[in-house]
């Protein structure tokens, strides 16, 4: 928690009070501003002279909160091949993503619009490259735009996370990365920030995302306001650090700029985190413009820390860094970053030491662990490759396997640090194996490279497989990146990060390794005739048998009742809530999956088919008006303001509130008579003077004509033109121009009211008869024509009617 600070900064931006992740202005005490952005601002760092660009679907450069910081030179439209990255507008607002990211980085401060960007004086651009076919060429072009002008590239996208894709940058994009690292920022190296894996869909593992597994990208994950793992987050050994982002419905959200010059708190996931860190790095670059791309990563490793982030696998590596697969080295600390950056000395040059395992195929047997080791001196015999202190560690594998998703891969460093390179992926039934795929871990950062490295592969079939077809490890290569001398030469730089002193250990967890916890045994006490060990959940009254349902009381919770049988559990299952006082699991109200109490309005999540009403904490089948059922979070989320009803997304309106009307799927203010709402200009513009209501400025876009105008063929005219006559229209207050009979040039009504015929027709008793004459009308069938009154039927009029009628 941060104490209120006397020289607290206050901005007049309307959403400033919602930016809980930056300041504590609302004095609620529920303050989570350990990213210490305010403190960095108070040191005077706001991103001045630093250029950031967003690789995405465009950026609304005339957004009131971006225009002032917008930088044309940091922008390009790769999809449209021009210099204007303005997104393509459509009724679904699908191209909102880039604008939302941009606001987090550099939304202007104190301009009464929306929010304040983390680097609110930085220059911001956009590279439109997702709104079209994304190919290797498109990515390479985007990554290579103005490398000497743009400092930081932020990207919040990646391969499909369907749990069966293994994809990454193509050959051109890889070269663009390498070129950017070598030559960008005039040799200091471009800085690429990437949103780490995002399990928008379950069952994925972000090590199959080649962008976050690149050593050239800074992979950033997310935590919720309460330091919990967001439902969407994937574990990943290449994640470097984390920021706050969206979480459950009860967690506060992140606010940012939105398409159509709006604000939103609907920007979620790790899409939020990458631009946030881009902003923090911009502050650090302002403090020290000469830090290299590797310095930035070292700074993040040094200053990020666990604070209250909850992860079961926090561990301290051999260099003393706390690290986890969820959050990397922890929550970023902007203040510590700028302080360290200010006095930073560049780290020694990077060395690369590569070792390949022996080329002997090893079989991967189901449910057995295959261990393969590589012993290395860190290439001590090649000075220019010698690695003593580690940075990134990459493992390139060549594995043949019948069902790739059954594999789990771990890497254990000489110091014993275990990195999970790959977890099982239930949906991945590919038989392609891994063909020189590169996994990466940062967990050994700062450790010594020398020693024995162990690759551990576990194959656990998740469905029936042909037992005779075994997986094979053909070979694997260990690539060690690091320095030959200590990266922080202690004799000239203290480099003791302030953040270490800030570290607030989460109670009871920090110093003990998780598996040690499990090894603790309960006190052994004598119990009556059964004297075997009790279940670990049994309390101090002992037990009368070895199982959890033999306990006489429970350590944590008792589940069930005497009738149905009672047992002890460490936590209550779904459908129950934990009554801590009574140490009992109590059933939630019908329909609740999780709850905070038994009442119907204490649900915190709902069973399948029901949706949670956040305000009332109740589970409903149908969301109330103004809300839509979110299939992923299983809760009723509010429609966008002005929306009375929406479909599957807050922005997909199907009905509007009073005073608004639908334009596509957006609710726009109802404009006064004679005006229409101009979507792009976001204001009411005048219809054509002949229209009283219209959908656009053109004459043909009238819906209703102005006074003294008549609707004729979707246009409004002062008077009906030739071939039309004014007539009533059902349901319309005004007359419209109706077409005269066929072949009739002027008329004053329908039917026999023609007053002038077209050439080749004669006007006969109000209708137009073709001038054809037939010479045998008498003999042939004039009588018949007249007796059958054929002339009144349009179809037969050409049969000598004129002649017949003329002859009376």
């Amino acid at each position: 928690y941060i104490r209120t600070d006397q020289n607290f900064i206050y901005f007049n931006d309307p959403k400033w009070s919602n930016m809980w992740y930056i300041h504590c202005s609302d004095r609620s005490g529920r303050c989570r501003s350990e990213m210490n952005i305010l403190a960095a601002w108070q040191r005077g760092y706001t991103g001045k002279n630093v250029v950031v660009t967003i690789l995405d679907d465009g950026i609304e450069r005339n957004h009131p909160d971006l225009a002032q910081n917008y930088d044309q030179l940091a922008s390009y439209d790769v999809n449209g091949n021009d210099h204007d990255p303005t997104p393509r507008y459509d009724s679904s607002n699908e191209n909102k993503h880039g604008t939302r990211c941009a606001g987090e980085v550099a939304a202007v401060a104190n301009n009464s619009h929306c929010i304040v960007g983390i680097a609110y004086n930085a220059r911001i651009g956009g590279i439109r490259m997702l709104d079209g076919d994304v190919t290797d060429v498109v990515e390479a072009k985007s990554l290579g735009i103005r490398p000497d002008y743009i400092d930081i590239y932020s990207a919040s996208w990646g391969p499909d996370d369907d749990g069966k894709t293994v994809d990454g940058p193509g050959p051109l994009a890889k070269q663009a990365f390498e070129l950017g690292i070598k030559k960008g920022r005039k040799g200091l190296g471009s800085i690429f920030v990437w949103a780490s894996g995002n399990g928008g869909r379950q069952g994925d593992h972000c090590s199959c995302d080649g962008y976050t597994n690149s050593i050239y990208t800074i992979s950033i994950s997310s935590t919720t306001e309460n330091g919990n793992k967001p439902w969407y987050l994937e574990v990943c050994s290449s994640t470097l650090a984390a920021t706050y982002s969206s979480g459950e419905f009860y967690d506060r959200k992140i606010v940012t700029t939105d398409l159509r010059q709006r604000c939103t708190d609907g920007h979620t996931g790790t899409s939020v985190s990458a631009p946030m860190v881009a902003g923090v790095i911009a502050l650090a670059l302002e403090a020290n413009p000469l830090i290299t791309w590797r310095d930035v990563q070292h700074l993040l490793v040094k200053t990020s820390r666990p604070v209250h982030l909850k992860a079961s696998d926090w561990k301290t590596n051999a260099a003393g860094h706390r690290v986890s697969h969820l959050y990397g080295f922890g929550l970023v600390d902007a203040d510590a970053m700028v302080v360290e950056a200010k006095k930073w000395r560049s780290v020694p040059p990077q060395h690369v030491c590569t070792r390949t395992s022996e080329r002997r195929t090893k079989y991967i047997r189901p449910d057995q662990i295959l261990n393969s080791t590589i012993a290395t001196s860190g290439c001590a015999d090649h000075p220019d490759q010698h690695v003593v202190y580690l940075e990134h560690v990459v493992v390139r594998v060549l594995i043949v396997h019948p069902r790739r998703g059954d594999l789990q891969i771990n890497l254990i460093s000489p110091a014993g640090t275990r990195s999970q390179l790959l977890a099982k992926r239930l949906f991945d039934n590919s038989n392609e194996g891994f063909r020189n795929w590169e996994f990466m871990t940062v967990h050994c950062w700062g450790e010594k490279a020398e020693g024995q490295w162990t690759l551990e592969i576990l194959d656990s079939p998740s469905q029936l497989r042909n037992p005779e077809v075994l997986g094979k490890l053909k070979e694997w290569t260990l690539i060690l990146y690091g320095t030959s001398e200590h990266p922080y030469n202690s004799h000239y730089s203290p480099h003791h990060s302030r953040s270490r002193m800030l570290e607030i250990p989460s109670p009871g967890q920090e110093r003990k390794e998780p598996d040690l916890l499990l090894q603790e045994t309960p006190d052994e006490e004598e119990v009556d005739e059964y004297n075997g060990p009790c279940h670990t959940e049994c309390g101090d009254q002992g037990c009368d048998g070895p199982e959890a349902d033999h306990c006489l009381n429970c350590i944590h919770f008792s589940l069930g009742n005497i009738k149905s049988g009672r047992t002890c559990v460490s936590y209550c299952p779904l459908g129950y809530h934990e009554d801590v006082e009574a140490r009992r699991c109590r059933r939630c109200y019908r329909g609740c999956e999780k709850c905070a109490g038994r009442a119907h309005n204490q649900c915190t999540s709902c069973r399948r088919g029901l949706y949670l009403c956040a305000e009332e904490h109740t589970c409903v089948e149908m969301c109330p008006l103004g809300y839509f059922p979110d299939e992923i979070q299983k809760q009723c989320l509010p429609c966008h303001e002005n929306c009375m009803m929406c479909l599957r997304d807050a922005d997909r309106c199907t009905a509007c509130n009073e005073g608004y009307s639908l334009a596509g799927m957006t609710c726009v203010p109802e404009c006064a008579n004679g005006t229409f709402f101009h979507l792009e200009e976001m204001k009411c513009s005048a219809c054509h003077l002949s229209c009283s209501t219209c959908t656009g400025p053109g004459m043909e876009e009238c819906i209703q004509c102005a006074k003294d105008f008549l609707l004729q063929e979707w246009r409004c005219v002062p008077a009906c033109t030739e071939g039309y006559y004014p007539g009533e229209a059902v349901g319309l207050p005004q007359q419209i121009c109706r077409k005269c009979e066929e072949n009739c040039l002027t008329c004053h009504g329908a039917g026999r009211n023609c007053t002038k015929c077209r050439d080749g027709y004669s006007l006969i008793s109000g209708t137009c008869i073709i001038n054809a004459t037939c010479n045998n009308a008498d003999e042939v069938f004039c009588e018949m024509v007249k007796s059958n009154r054929l002339c009144e039927k349009k179809l037969f009029r050409q049969f000598c009617c004129r002649t017949c009628l003329m002859t009376g």
Partner: protein, 86 residues
């Protein structure tokens, strides 16, 4: 089944000899040279308007002869990549 690729009518080609050489080669096989790919030296972005814009197969035709041209060091038909926003 592995996901099916979508082949575009764009190619990345590595040709030494500069822009002129690239233009010449492009014209020879009916391509448009859209210029160098970012800062990647000798890499050019070719487009062939006579080849179907999106296809499930890498179509063969006279345009394919460029693969065999000795001046071409490397060539890659562009495939649509599935990229999702996080």
């Amino acid at each position: 089944l592995p996901s099916r690729n979508i082949y575009t009518n764009h190619w990345a080609v590595r040709i030494s000899g500069g822009r002129e050489e690239a233009d010449k080669l492009a014209t020879k096989y009916g391509y448009n040279n859209l210029g160098q790919i970012g800062s990647l030296e000798d890499h050019y972005h070719f487009h062939h308007s006579k080849v179907v814009r999106r296809s499930a197969f890498s179509l063969r035709g006279s345009h394919s002869f460029i693969n065999m041209d000795p001046k071409v060091h490397w060539i890659q038909q562009q495939v649509v990549k599935s990229r999702v926003k996080r």
